[in-house]
């Protein structure tokens, strides 16, 4: 009874949360879209986490799965226009279901090489799959080729996107709540031992690929109907890397890590886009930027040294503060000096122009200081607030 109570409660809570999200951001068209996109990124990163973090299969073809889902939905809408008479929400759900299944089958195909390949070799195969898909779509004119494809109707629903993210998270979390989830983790940890313990590695890997791909495909369908237009350029290879980065940055195998990293990494460039002073985008001089970069590298090195070599917490704190203060001072001094260098002095850049520079710097800094990812293998949960931290991943 208690079980079903909890179960029902969490479902109601999730639906209510998604509905709340929808009502909050509904009126704000700019945010609306960003929230949907954030939900999609969360879906992508959690589903890749299942393949990459939890099962340990090094896949960097997730943009390919995303694209598959989007194109499945786009192509069906193109060749079956009578479907448009359906109510939009039901149509979107139908498309998500079809994309889910279709991309799952694609995941099966891509997952099969994983039975023979490992590590970097598997990575290049999954990368190659994404590229093949992009090139084939580019060359297939019936489905738009490089011209792209208009997808109608456009459906913009935070609720559905958020529910997709919640379901993805729930599926992965539920899996890790049970002993079956341990099979996935054991494949990641040691394939020989897991097989000796009777785990069917083949099944596990294929299931991981299928489920991971299927959720990405469903996200693709949502994306296609959100954008109303898809083309191969919408799914560049770089997206695969960004999803991978989200997984690793959050901590491989940590679902909460993936969620947080997805939201943060998606938000950084978008936040920087909007960063402004009195309505003008924040601008600073190139000299200042270079000075900041140099000081940043120095501060990072100092922080890294502190982390590795200094062991008393007071000394650590002092050094961390010193690194930050030092970085600020050095930035100021160097900026003053660099301003006199003609190549750097005159130029001004807006913060929105260097969004991706900052993005990459954050990436490097986090990886240097916390290589196991922000959450490591752990999940964020109530136990963090308890006195004794549990070291267990799951169950």
């Amino acid at each position: 009874m208690k079980f079903w109570g909890t179960r029902l409660g969490s479902i109601v809570l999730a639906v209510a949360g998604c509905y709340l999200l929808q009502t909050i951001f509904q009126g704000n068209p700019g945010m609306n879209r960003l929230v949907v996109l954030a939900c999609l990124w969360v879906t992508l990163s959690v589903s890749l986490n299942l393949i990459n973090g939890i099962t340990g299969q090094f896949s960097i073809g997730h943009a390919g799965f995303w694209m598959t889902g989007a194109y499945i939905s786009g192509v069906i809408m193109k060749f079956q226009p009578q479907l448009k008479s359906m109510p939009a929400m039901q149509l979107l759900l139908l498309m998500m279901l079809i994309a889910f299944i279709g991309t799952g089958i694609m995941g099966l195909l891509v997952g099969l090489p994983s039975l023979r390949l490992k590590g970097d070799y598997l990575a290049i195969v999954t990368l190659g799959f994404g590229e093949i898909l992009r090139i084939v779509v580019n060359a297939s004119e019936p489905i738009g080729g490089s011209y792209g494809l208009f997808v109608e109707p456009k459906v913009n629903s935070i609720f559905i996107a958020a529910m997709l993210a919640v379901i993805t998270i729930a599926a992965c979390r539920n899996l890790l709540q049970t002993a079956h989830g341990l099979e996935f983790l054991s494949v990641r940890e040691d394939e020989v031992a897991s097989q000796a313990m009777g785990v069917n590695n083949t099944t596990i890997k294929v299931v991981a690929f299928v489920i991971g791909a299927a959720f990405a495909g469903a996200a693709g369908a949502v994306f296609a109907h959100l954008e109303g237009f898809i083309s191969p350029t919408s799914f560049p290879m770089a997206f695969s890397f960004i999803v991978l980065t989200m997984v690793v940055l959050g901590g491989t195998g940590s679902i909460t890590g993936s969620v947080v990293a997805a939201i943060v990494l998606f938000a950084i460039p978008e936040y920087l886009r909007g960063m402004s002073v009195n309505g003008e985008p924040l601008r600073f001089t190139l000299a200042g930027f270079v000075a900041f970069a140099i000081a940043g590298i120095g501060a990072l090195a100092l922080a890294k040294y502190t982390q590795d070599r200094v062991h008393d917490s007071k000394g650590k704190l002092i050094r961390y503060i010193g690194a930050v203060v030092g970085a600020i001072v050095v930035t100021g001094v160097f900026a003053a000096i660099f301003r006199n260098i003609p190549a750097l002095g005159g130029k001004e850049i807006g913060v929105d122009q260097i969004r991706y520079v900052i993005f990459s710097l954050v990436l490097i800094a986090v990886m240097l200081l916390r290589p196991q990812g922000v959450f490591g293998h752990h999940e964020f949960g109530w136990h963090w607030f308890k006195s004794k931290k549990s070291q267990e991943t799951v169950a």
Binding site: F58, P113, R116, L117, K118, D120, Y121, A123, I124, V125, L127, G128, F129, E131, I132, I135, V136, N138, A139, S140, E141, P142, G145, V192, M237, F241, L244, T245, V248, L249, T252, L286, F289, A293, I297, A301, K304, I349, Q353, I354, Y356, V357, F359, S360, L361, L363, I364, M367, L368, P371, Q372, G373
Partner: protein, 394 residues
């Protein structure tokens, strides 16, 4: 479009097969050169250096900036048409590119990879992706990229192409070509004589129009005759620049092979690639080895970049290294990553595959098929062609 694909066999033109094989080998040698950098770093550190493509990009920019310093800017060349590059200029560009790339590689290793050495490999990989993004996007702030500049062709004294005839056209067709050419020349001369009386080349009076039509007619006859001659002839035409690229690439690879197999530091590299920790216990300064590996690997990328940018003349953006980077990575994996001969083999195979796919009439699917080949090879040889799949000891 799908319906219009040439049937596979029917579309094959065997007279151009030798030429296509040559194209493939020329293309493949550059892939191989860049792949060597991936392979060396991987061999020693087991790290895929995703920033390798960006080092390549910096190499191309170095060559560009040095050539500008030498006076080969567009304006300068336009003003002084007699400026010409020499072999010495090329060597200087090559040297600068290699040196700068080598140093950049070492700096990247020092700042971004060395702190990650004892960390999970995937973390190092993400750092590499971060470095790659950083170089791409921060390069846009500092490097000239709008419009994408290209190295002026005047730098390069090696122009033209070498023609290796395999089968000549028959005397009859050659004769036909010369007659039609003579007829065309005559018609052209007549038209040119009329030209001063006309408003412009494309706004002709009836007389001019008639002359032009005669000339066009003669021209079409001439191209038809040349077409017949072309289809009879079998030849290999090799652009001189690409021949130089090919031999330089081979020379660099031979040098590298010597370095790895016959020098002290090469022995260190081999030891480190075999077992990193043991090598350090054996008194090998692995840090020095790694630094050196990065220097050499990046310098090779620099050499490839300089030759690509100078001999082929593609305009440069900060994303210049992405495509060669991915292709070379594929080549390295295909040959067996970590294996130097594998990189050469993989590169050549990739080049040949691309040329043959284009030959078969699937030019639009070229890259896709290169990847397909890779996947198939890996399925049957999971460690690449020359790599040995690591057998785990149980």
């Amino acid at each position: 479009m799908i319906g219009e694909w040439t049937p596979l066999i029917a579309g094959l033109e065997f007279s151009i097969l030798p030429q296509q094989l040559a194209n493939g080998i020329l293309l493949g040698s550059i892939y191989a050169l860049i792949a060597l950098g991936y392979t060396m770093v991987y061999g020693v550190l087991r790290l895929i250096n995703f920033a390798h493509g960006e080092v390549f990009m910096l190499g191309a920019y170095t060559a560009l900036l040095v050539s500008w310093k030498l006076g080969f800017t567009q304006e300068n060349v336009a003003q002084h048409p007699d400026i010409n590059g020499s072999i010495l200029t090329l060597v200087l560009l090559l040297f600068c590119s290699m040196a700068v790339c080598g140093i950049v590689g070492v700096v990247i290793e020092l700042l971004a990879y060395r702190p990650m050495r004892n960390q999970p490999r995937i973390a190092a990989l993400i750092t590499a992706i971060g470095v790659s993004l950083f170089l791409q996007y921060s390069g846009q702030l500092f490097l000239p990229n709008s419009p994408p500049p290209s190295i002026n062709q005047k730098v390069n004294p090696i122009q033209g192409a070498t023609n290796i005839p395999l089968r000549k056209a028959s005397a009859e067709t050659l004769n036909n070509v010369s007659t039609t050419t003579a007829a065309y020349e005559a018609a052209k001369a007549a038209f040119d004589a009329q030209l001063p009386n006309e408003e412009s080349r494309f706004q002709l009076s009836p007389t001019g129009q008639a002359l032009k039509e005669t000339m066009d007619e003669a021209n079409r006859a001439r191209t038809d005759a040349e077409a017949t001659a072309n289809s009879e002839r079998v030849e290999i035409i090799l652009p001189n620049g690409q021949i130089v690229m090919f031999f330089s690439a081979i020379a660099l690879m031979v040098g590298l092979h010597f370095l790895v197999n016959h020098t002290k530091i090469g022995r260190g590299m081999r030891a480190a690639s075999h077992d990193f920790d043991t090598a350090s216990l054996m008194g090998i300064n692995v840090n020095r080895i790694v630094t050196f590996t990065f220097f050499i690997g990046s310098a090779l990328a620099g050499a490839g970049a300089m030759m690509n940018a100078t001999f082929l003349g593609t305009p440069l953006t900060t994303f210049y290294g992405v495509v060669p980077g991915v292709k070379a990575f594929v080549a390295a994996v295909l040959g067996g990553i970590g294996n130097i001969r594998g990189a050469l083999l993989g590169g050549l195979l990739m080049g040949l595959a691309e040329a043959l796919v284009a030959w078969a009439g699937y030019a639009n699917m070229r890259d896709a098929i290169a990847f397909l080949i890779l996947i198939f090879v890996l399925l049957f040889k999971p460690g690449g062609l020359l790599g040995s799949a690591a057998v785990e000891k149980v």
